[in-house]
Each structure stands twice: as structure tokens, then as C-alpha cells.
Symmetry: C2
Subunit: 360 residues, 2 copies
DNA sequence: GATGAAAATGTAATCGATTACATCCGGCGA
DNA sequence: TCGCCGGATGTAATCGATTACATTTTCATC
């Protein structure tokens, strides 16, 4: 007489079915599956046979309800279509799914109410932990993610003033190294193609740029800081801005806060007739796959994308299983400068680093 | 006295707490939240106030256990780092999360036992539906995804001999159109850079290529079919193969089964001194973002990536909620040829389509 | 063979929500 | 006034697994 209002999934084998078939109690079945060593050999084989025959698999909702765990973690990603994050996600996925966790991906590109929905979901206990790749604490109108009393770990983008573990690279130091490479080559007029000012990565990379110039005794010229927002499009715009300058006033090198902008810029100035790297050396940041595909290939800072994800995931697992683990608050992973075809000494220079050329 | 073996999440507000505070029964609270119209105004406001004061959110595991639903769908993706799928995922995510579903992403790049784990997970009732972007039926050693008795929908890659809905583009027809464009321009020696032979998309695109040649009365030259596997690397290799040919024997145009290979090939032959499109016209397939970033920009077939995802998701939702809906088995979405800078009439030709030049 | 500890298994409470069914109450028609 | 109807709410069964505690079995030892 059961009238099915909604689509109902039929007949599921449950633990009591297995128990009946094996001639044991449900407790024994559960134990056989959870801790095989505590049941006697003979019972175990009987139970396992029954499990196989019935095709039993435990109902996860029931288990979760009982043990108060969900075995899923939520990963907040700024933009899933961004290849950089896609690779970080791979690392996360590898580690987490090996440990038996499922992951819900919260793609924050899109309407902001989505973020709120995800926060509520976590607060409702739908996840055992959260991985933030998004550079900010997620909020919903009434709650904060912290209210969820769930372990948090951040990766890639540093979130200031927080106490949970964060897995990042040394953006300041690596940016300094990138610009240092240009200086080594003999460049003294080095532009910076920036990200959105509010972004922490942008702030750190800009700081690295400044430090490198300062160390080399090169005066920072604010006219050489081009606005951008990490997208290809703004790279193109920056390229046009460069072309609009008097040739003599043009920088001989440029450090871009990420690869996408660098590639956009290169494409633009290259089509306009500038030679890369002869007329302009370019260094990017991130090490996305296309940095190695474009023409010329891009010298860039390669971030350990998979490791960033995997490390953060491992840290979160530790946190989730052992409660408050030893909080390694700031975990820095090494990023390295990958030399490719987009950098070279400036034309006028002999190739040595005559740092005081600038003082004219 | 509660000794916490595992990390236990503390104090969760439950429905009975709300009921007590509001001075009503749990049933009333549940009803207030599920069907506000059946409780009287005064009670409703009292309950809602209690909900707000306590910060109550229902325990999803408990609800799922009771109503036998999970509100999550599993999405099987061949490779999450592939920008094409990343965008399809966006469409899926938009639609699904708007409808209140969470999504578990099964990234099939990686060890095959992962696929099995996901199959088991679905069979265990952990998902209400599955979206397959992977071109094959998922399996685990003992089970098939069909055993899960859960709605399935496939998208992007067609899976033959199945009865569930599939959302794809007309690969044969669009490939024919792409090659037709080259023929229109006057090309008669047109190479094909193929995908892996076992892949259905490859088979369909190859078929489209053949049809276009046949219609134009051009004899298919199997020497012009270059092996590839959809990766950038094989595009590079194909480029080298092309360069190794006698200049006179080289095709004047090439159709690549996807953009990534096309870009790899262009980069390779371009660095070697061939002019694109003057010496070689190239058409790609997919319309990934980089097709518009590379130098020259790539003429390609643009797939409606977001719509593919969104449509498939919508179809799955229909299936999940209304049981066996009207099964629109094959849903074809339009893809369009995007003309950019990588195609042009062949050098010798006047630019008109003198199709019978070949018979010379 | 009795004894007790340890090992194996069983019983039943529990997790937190949904919902069929029971109950209560007010109002309306006869 | 009685009885009935229907709307609002309460009671308690239920979903399916885990596990504390109870009970039974095993077995080494004297």
C-alpha cells in the first residue's frame, strides 16, 4: 500500500539481513567489519560470506548519525576553472580520498549567496573539516565559518590573524628572487605587473619586488607599476600601456604577479613587434602549464601546486583525527625559479650586471 | 566521565532543544521548518524565534537516514586539471548547488582503485545520482555503477549502448564543419591530428573529417593522419613529424581533434619558421580559453561547456526528483565554429574555393 | 571437575530527524 | 445539545548502524 510520493530507492540490504543470514547478531556483523580481529575465525568467514552474498554495504547516513562524523571535507576554491587551483585540488584529492574522505568543492566563482550556503552547510555539521584556498574567512549573513567548530586549514593564500595551520610558499622571498634574477641579468628598469591590491598574494609579491630593488640600490619608480587583476585580459591591457610609452622610456624587464597576465602581456607586445626577450624580459609567477607552452616559454616561479594541496590535506586530516594536533601554524613550501626563454640580459648591457648604470 | 577516544564535536543544538524552548513538540518544529503553512501563525513565530535563538540547524545525517536521500551527486571527471572539464564543472555546480545538491567530484586521473572506491560509495547509497563526464561506465571489481540503482546522466563524451540521458554536441557534424571551413578556403591537402583511437570523441571527429573530405571529393590520404592523444606533448610531436616532411609534401591545413594538441603543434612549427596561417592553416576543437590567448589565436570549434554541464545537471535533477522522467535520451547542444587567426586560404590559391584544383 | 579470567557474542540504547497516526479543540448544522 | 468535521498539535515508530554493557562460552589451572 506504500504510495511513493517521491522517487524511493527500493530494497537496501541492511545489517540485520546479513546478521540473520549468517546466524549471528547485528553487533557481530558490525564488529566483523570494523575490527575483524575480535571475532573468531569461523564466525568471521560466515559473516563475510553473508556480506558477499547479500551485497551489503553499510548505510553511511546511519553510521554518520551514530558516530557523529561525515567523512567529507569542504574545499573552498576561488575559481575551479583556474588551472592553478585545479592542480592544487589534485593534491588535495589524492591525499584526502586515500584517507577515505570525500570532498565537496565549494566553487566561489559565482553569486555570493553560494558562499553563505556552504558556510551553513558546514555549520550544520555536513563536513568534518574545511580547506580554504580562497584567502578569506568564509561567512554567511549570520554565521562565520569558525562557528562550525570544525578544523580549518588554509593553503595557497595566507589569511592574516588566524590561528589555524596555513600552507603557503614564501611569496615575498620568491618574488624577490625572481626580480633578483632580472637584476643579475643586468636589468635596472624593471616594471611590475600587479594583481588586485586587496589580494594578499599581490601585497606579498609587490613587497618582494620592492625588496629586490632596494637591495640592488635601484630606486623604485611607481610609474613602472602597472595595474592588473590576475587575468589574461589585464595582461593584454598592460601590454598596450607598455607599447604606448616612448621606446626609450620603456622598461627592459617586467615581473608579473602571475603567469596568466604575463602571457597576455607577452602576446600583446609580441604581436606589436617587440622581441621577447630581446626587447623585454618577462618573469611570471605560478608555473601553470601554459607557461611552458607559450611562445617564448616563460621564465617563472613554479609553485609546488600538488604538494601545497597534499600538505594542507594531510594537516587537516591530522587535525580532524587527533583533535588539536601540534599546530604547525605556518608551513612554508619551497617554490623555485624556472629559467626559460623569456629572460635575457638587456640589449645595451654586456650581459654583466653593471648595477650602477642607472646612476647614469 | 565521557572519555573521548576520537575528537568529538561538542554540543549540537537539536530539534528537541528548540521544541522545549518554544514550548511545542518536535513534530511542530519539524513541520514549521518543512511546511510553514500548516502551523498556525502564532506557533510559527514562536518556533522560528527559538530556532534563531538556539542557532539550530538540522542534522543532515539524521534527515538523510530518515528520508533515504543524500542530496549529493557524484560527478566523474576524467581529469580535473583539464580546463575544458573545469568549465563544464562550473555549469554543473551552478545548477546543482542552486537546487540544494552538494557534489562530490570523482577525479579519475590517478590510480584506478579510486574509481572503484567511488563506485562502491555510490552503491552504498552515498549519492542520489551520478553525472558521467568520463566516457565509460564506472566499475569496481565486483560492481557496476548500474547496480547502484541511482539515476545516471552522461555528458560531453557519449557512452554507447546505454539508455540514460546523454548530453553532448554533434561531434561528427561539427568536425565536418571545421574541415569544411578549410575546404571552403581552398585547401585540398588537409591533415588530421587525432586523439587516442579508443576514445569515442576521437572516432566521431575522425568520421567528421572523413565525411567532409568525401563530400568535397577529396581522396583521404592516410599519410595525413597524425597520431596523438589529446595532450600538448603529442601536438609537439606531430609538429615535428610535419617538419620532417618534404616541404612540397606538407599539407596546407590541419584539423586537430582538440585545442591542446593544436596549440602544441602550432608552437612547434612556428618556432621552426613556418608561418601560421600562411604556410599552414590550423583548426582546433573545444574552444578552451588558451585558444584565444595563443599566437596566432586559434580557429576552433567552441563547445558550450557551461551549458553542457548545466543541461546535464538539470536532466539529472529531473530524474532524481520525478523518478523515471520523460527520458530525453540524446540531447545535442550546438557548438560553433569560431573563426580566428589560424586559418587562411593556401598560398597558391586565389582564396576562392576552386574545389577541382585537386583533379588537376 | 571446579573455578575464574578472558574471549566471543548478544541485547538494547542511542544518534536526530521525519511523519503516520492519535488526540484535542472549536465551530457549525440539525 | 449532540455529533461531526477539520485544523493544529502531540506521541511514538522509524530510518540503520555503533557500542556500552550483559551474558555466554572457552579454556588454562589447580
Amino acid at each position: 500500500m506504500a504510495k511513493r510520493t517521491r522517487a524511493t530507492r527500493p530494497k537496501a540490504v541492511k545489517i540485520s539481513d546479513v546478521a540473520r543470514l549468517a546466524g549471528v547478531s547485528v553487533a557481530t556483523v558490525s564488529r566483523t567489519l570494523a575490527r575483524p580481529d575480535v571475532v573468531i575465525e569461523e564466525t568471521r568467514t560466515r559473516v563475510l560470506a553473508a556480506v558477499r552474498d547479500t551485497g551489503y554495504t553499510p548505510n553511511i547516513s546511519a553510521r554518520n548519525l551514530r558516530v557523529r562524523k561525515t567523512m567529507v571535507v569542504l574545499v573552498a576554491v576561488p575559481d575551479i576553472a583556474n588551472p592553478f587551483f585545479a592542480e592544487v585540488l589534485q593534491g588535495i584529492d589524492d591525499t584526502l580520498s586515500a584517507a577515505g574522505y570525500g570532498l565537496i568543492i565549494a566553487n566561489l566563482a559565482g553569486p555570493p549567496e553560494k558562499e553563505a550556503r556552504y558556510v551553513d552547510l558546514v555549520c550544520a555539521g555536513q563536513a568534518d573539516g574545511v580547506l580554504l584556498l580562497c584567502g578569506h574567512m568564509m561567512r554567511s549573513p549570520n554565521r562565520d565559518l569558525r562557528d562550525a567548530r570544525v578544523p580549518l586549514v588554509a593553503a595557497c593564500e595566507y589569511i592574516p590573524h588566524e590561528t589555524f595551520p596555513q600552507v603557503t610558499i614564501d611569496n615575498v622571498g620568491t618574488a624577490r628572487e625572481a626580480v633578483g634574477h632580472l637584476i643579475q641579468l643586468g636589468h635596472t628598469s624593471i616594471a611590475y605587473l600587479s594583481g588586485p591590491k586587496s589580494n594578499i598574494l599581490e601585497q606579498q609579491r609587490l613587497e618582494g619586488y620592492r625588496q629586490a630593488l632596494r637591495e640592488a640600490g635601484i630606486a623604485a619608480d611607481t610609474g613602472l607599476i602597472l595595474p592588473g587583476d590576475f587575468t589574461f585580459r589585464t595582461g593584454v591591457e598592460a601590454g598596450r600601456a607598455l607599447l604606448a610609452l616612448e621606446p626609450a622610456a620603456r622598461p627592459t624587464a617586467l615581473f608579473a604577479a602571475n603567469d596568466e597576465m604575463a602571457i597576455g602581456l607577452i602576446k600583446t607586445v609580441h604581436t606589436a613587434g617587440l622581441q621577447i626577450p630581446d626587447d623585454l624580459s618577462v618573469v611570471g609567477f605560478d608555473g601553470i602549464a601554459y607557461a611552458d607552452y607559450c611562445e617564448p616559454t616563460l621564465t617563472t616561479i613554479v609553485q609546488p601546486r600538488r604538494s601545497l594541496g597534499a600538505t594542507a590535506a594531510a594537516e587537516l586530516i591530522a587535525l580532524m583525527t587527533t583533535g588539536t594536533a601540534e599546530l604547525r601554524k605556518d608551513i612554508k613550501l619551497p617554490a623555485k625559479l624556472m629559467l626559460r626563454d623569456s629572460t635575457r640580459p638587456p640589449r645595451k648591457s654586456a650581459g654583466h650586471s653593471f648595477r650602477d648604470l642607472r646612476s647614469g
